[in-house]
């Protein structure tokens, strides 16, 4: 249970980190909070020649920023810091709802928001939330910078759009339109465990109470967070009334094709998806009145 041999680097700037990644690329890994990578190194599920620790690249990467219509979450924002940011909660309360369900405080004190996205565990909470908010993943390498959205960022089980020489510098999220409500619901076997299934939902209503936009995503049912487009479609145009919620529940159940494992059967996961969609929409509806 000890990591294999590697060379440790602690660059003091973003440019220095990118230069190291450009030089070592395939043989290197970024170390952020270490809460997923170090267990994998300790188990020797992962073996690297070079570890590029980004924790000292600069204090400007440590805090979330709310400017105008955008919330930016740079690479070193710890999960616990986002959970407790009153400024972010005022415009995107869904993070304060989802984050307490990510692991335990001791893990969130180190684990970063960007690291959770870059790790892309199919049952992770944060990628699911990123799939219902309007998020942009800002990526840098010595070759330049680029931006991708959530649908393109999360590609497969533990696989993202990131190339070996690239760093996720920040996630930028557009502050939702007025009238937008969000909810996050999950079922886990024990406190702090990864979700068996988690659901994030967002709905925007106009003055008459009719939904004009809706996004719903589930974790734990596919290799990446799965958008439930059919369920979204039945909510749009409704007032999130009981009939719409029941239709969304049925649509969610039909849309997912989970695999069973030792933690839960496929049928259990499908049922949980439907129930959590119902609970999330019920919460959204309750907030409206």
């Amino acid at each position: 249970m000890k990591p294999g041999r590697f060379t440790y680097h602690a660059p003091r700037s973003l440019d220095a980190a990118l230069a190291l990644l450009a030089e070592h690329g395939d043989e290197a890994k970024v170390l952020a909070g270490g809460q997923s990578l170090v267990p994998m190194l300790n188990f020797r599920l992962a073996q690297v020649d070079h570890l590029v620790d980004i924790n000292r690249i600069g204090p400007e990467f440590a805090g979330p920023k709310v400017t105008g219509d955008t919330v930016t979450i740079p690479a070193l924002v710890r999960q616990r810091v986002l959970e407790r940011s009153a400024e972010v909660a005022a415009v995107l309360p869904v993070f304060a709802a989802a984050l307490p369900q990510v692991a335990h405080p001791q893990i969130r004190n180190r684990g970063t928001v960007c690291g959770s996205c870059a790790h892309a565990d199919p049952a992770a909470e944060l990628p699911t939330v990123m799939s219902v908010v309007d998020s942009t993943f800002r990526i840098a390498s010595a070759r330049g910078t680029r931006e991708v959205d959530a649908a393109d960022f999360f590609q497969f089980h533990l696989t993202t759009a990131l190339e070996p020489d690239e760093l996720l510098t920040e996630v930028a999220i557009r502050v939702p339109q007025p009238g937008t409500r969000m909810a996050f619901k999950e079922f886990a076997t024990r406190r702090g465990d990864f979700a068996l299934v988690a659901v994030a939902a967002s709905a925007t209503v106009d003055e008459s109470g009719t939904v004009t936009a809706c996004r719903i995503a589930a974790a734990g049912v596919a290799p990446t967070p799965q958008r439930l487009h059919d369920a979204e479609a039945v909510v749009i145009g409704s007032t999130v009334d009981d009939e719409a919620i029941a239709a969304a529940e049925a649509a969610a159940s039909a849309a997912v094709d989970p695999t069973g494992d030792i933690h839960a059967t496929a049928e259990h996961r499908r049922r949980l998806t439907a129930v959590l969609v119902r609970r999330a929409l019920a919460e959204i509806k309750g907030d409206q009145s």
Binding site: F6, G34, N42, D53, H104
Partner: protein
Amino acid sequence: MTDNITVTVNGKQHTATADDRLTLADFLREKLRLTGTHLGCEHGVCGACTIIVDGSAVRSCLMLARQADGAELETVEGLAEGGKLNRLQQAFKDNYALQCGFCTPGFLMSVTAALREGPVRDEDEARDVLSGNICRCTGYQGLVDAVLETSKEMHS
């Protein structure tokens, strides 16, 4: 590669060599001979290795020693006051919050950090504070009682 690192542990400064792949937990135990910090799982799940780094409770099995260079650490060895158990340690003893004691240093550090952040008001909150640590002996009820008792004394 091996390099010297300097850390402050329980108020005392230490400098020692650390290999790149040495974890902070092994650094404390093997280089500084501070063996109060225990290692159970070495992958972040059990909490036995929990210490306080720059004010936050963290898993010392998931940090590299090199990452702690310059940091302020608190370990279970720093809890006793003048050779006597502190309030939390005494509450653990009084409430049978330990049996074999293997998990105890981690619980003490997790709870120490949590109680500094504010009161723990009820059983549900206490279980939340304790949920990041695993105990195979006590069944947790004694731990819940110890946390609530200490919180009441500290925050009333």
